[in-house]
Amino acid sequence: MTQIPVLTPVDTPAEAPPRVVRKRGWKSYSVYLGLAAILVYCLAPFYWMLVSSFRRTADIFDNSLLPQPFSAENYIKVFDGSTLFGQALLNSLIVAGVTTAAALVLGIFAAYAISRLNFRFKSVILGVIIATSMFPGISVVVPLLRLFTDIGWINTYQAMIVPNLSFAIPLAVWNLTTFMKSLPFDLEEAAMIDGCSKWQAFRKVLLPLAAPGVFTTAILTFIHSWNEFIIALSMVNDPAVQTATVAISKFTGATEFQAPFGEQMAAGVIVTIPLVIMVLIFQRRIVEGLTSGATK
């Protein structure tokens, strides 16, 4: 059978090609050279943001590779209360958290139905759900902006959370369905023969087995919602409710004449750090989640 289990760890040692003793020629060095180039390519811009955020305002235009002198001035300014940046981070957390939770609950039910039950129009429904993820954000925003203005939802969390579901639900359903399909049906069947109801089999057998998939989906959905920009930008104009990504795009700082690059970089680092930590800890899961849809 050609099917490869969808969420196989991408590079378990067993799968790595058998290691052959090689001559250490220019070829192996060129591999390392290529890898170094990739590292520089991926990390240099982020490193530059990090370094710049630790410079003083006076020497922000320095081009030295390390901040000299090292200063946390920008970080203190970001949180000094004049910009509501702490509040924006909290707002992002609330919006992304609720979006993720809602998408997961709905996604688990939908994915269970699609992967375990027999009904008509199944592939049509799955197709429709996947197709909705291709819907451009702006096509959601323009009509909903008007609706939310009419019902007084502008400057509320739900005005961001509900439109966020337009991309979060397809993502969750898609990931969870592929994952649940890869789990064997036997265990549930055995549990049902032993007298479990369908609901019990789902709750006590399938859900614990699907936990890794649910977790991966949660990480991906959270990252996508945390990074969301156009919906939050359109639905909210009150600085007390706006999310961190919108807040930093509007970061003007205290002085009007000089763009506060140091503070912007510090704010950017703060918004990115939670994601970088997640990437470092859960990198394997994230890659599995990202690639499960593409390689089947």
Binding site: R19, W48, F119, N227, V246, V279
Partner: protein, 330 residues
């Protein structure tokens, strides 16, 4: 595996199967209805509403009998007809051109670069997890933050200019702004394609390469005759996702260059600007056009190139295999 899933509910007790699937159908409807309800609100409603609103236009002026007319008037397809004439038409065509230009250039560069990244990563044995973590960083950085980051890099007295020794104004208007957008976008998304392609490469059995090596195939030959055909399905899906994503590009030009700049304004930005000006009619028309554009690209891509997004082909193939096996068993 899906063979078993597809087959098992049917296999025990054929006589009950009709009864059973009716019950399952009801349960499936129950489980799916919340999802479909929410999607109806956030996808179907906006689509219908945008189509409807795009047929109206804000009116503020004097009507024929001299009264001040306010509110909206029905203009039919007037908003769409206006897309091609006059000043607003020129702006639309420019935005349409920019969107297409950015999509074609960035996705092409991303695909080439992503393939190179994947090949390099596939050859690395040590430090692969470190490499993978670092390759995820550009992907994980919010686009708004990466826009800010690249604006800092592309400052007139920033690091980009001092590295290449020029005094280009990257973040103003013109070709330089376009280049800045392309560089920032490719930086963020090439690793994503690289990761997907790498996953596709890792399921290619090593024996094929061994055999090719014995037959005397060099690196390029192996790449063209083995790697490329075998990662093609993965690559197609990755490119399709990127195409659809690039067509709705908004955050990056908005933050990196700014709204209302002719040389980088995309369709999403134009629609956003129109709705900010409370011209919902034309904003909706732009949103509908963008939606149709995205749908067209998706359909053409799936039909012509056969990108298997939903995995339906495979399911069908499996089902066919199962039924033949069953037939043989009988």
């Amino acid at each position: 595996m899906s063979t078993r899933i597809a087959a098992s509910p049917r296999s025990p007790g054929r006589t009950k199967s009709g009864n059973r699937s009716a019950g399952e159908g009801r349960m499936a409807a129950l489980l799916l209805s919340p999802t479909l309800l929410v999607l109806a609100l956030v996808i179907a409603y906006p689509l219908v509403s945008a189509l409807y609103q795009s047929m109206f236009r804000e009116q503020s002026g004097l009507d024929a009998s001299g009264f001040v007319a306010e509110g909206e008037v029905f203009v039919g397809l007037g908003n769409y007809a206006d897309l091609f004439v006059g000043e607003s038409g020129a702006r639309f065509l420019n935005a349409f051109g920019n969107t297409t230009f950015f999509t074609v250039t960035t996705v092409t560069l991303e695909t080439v670069l992503g393939l190179c990244l994947a090949i390099a990563m596939n050859r690395a044995f040590r430090g692969r997890s470190f490499l993978r973590a670092s390759i995820l960083i550009p992907w994980a950085i919010p686009t708004a933050v990466s826009g800010l980051l690249w604006r800092w890099i592309f400052q007139s007295d920033g690091i980009a200019n001092s590295l290449i020794g020029s005094e280009t104004l990257w973040t103003a208007e013109g070709v330089a702004a376009k280049v800045a957008i392309i560089v920032a976008e490719v930086w963020k998304t090439a690793p994503f394609i690289g990761l997907l392609v790498l996953a596709g490469m890792q399921i290619i059995p090593e024996e094929i390469y061994e055999a090719a090596k014995i037959d005397g195939a060099g690196f390029w030959r192996q790449f063209r005759s083995i790697t490329l055909p075998l990662v093609k399905p993965t690559l197609l899906v990755a490119v399709l996702f990127r195409l659809l994503d690039a067509l709705r590009m908004f955050d990056l030009p908005f933050v990196l260059i700014g709204p209302g700049k002719e040389s980088v304004e995309t369709l999403s930005m134009l629609a956003f600007d129109e709705s900010n000006q409370l011209r919902y009619g034309s904003a909706s028309a732009f949103a509908v056009i963008l939606f149709l554009y995205v749908a067209l690209v998706a359909i053409v891509f799936v039909k012509l190139l056969g990108a298997d997004v939903a995995g339906t082909k495979q399911v069908r193939a499996l089902r066919r295999a199962t039924s033949t096996r069953k037939a043989k068993a009988l």
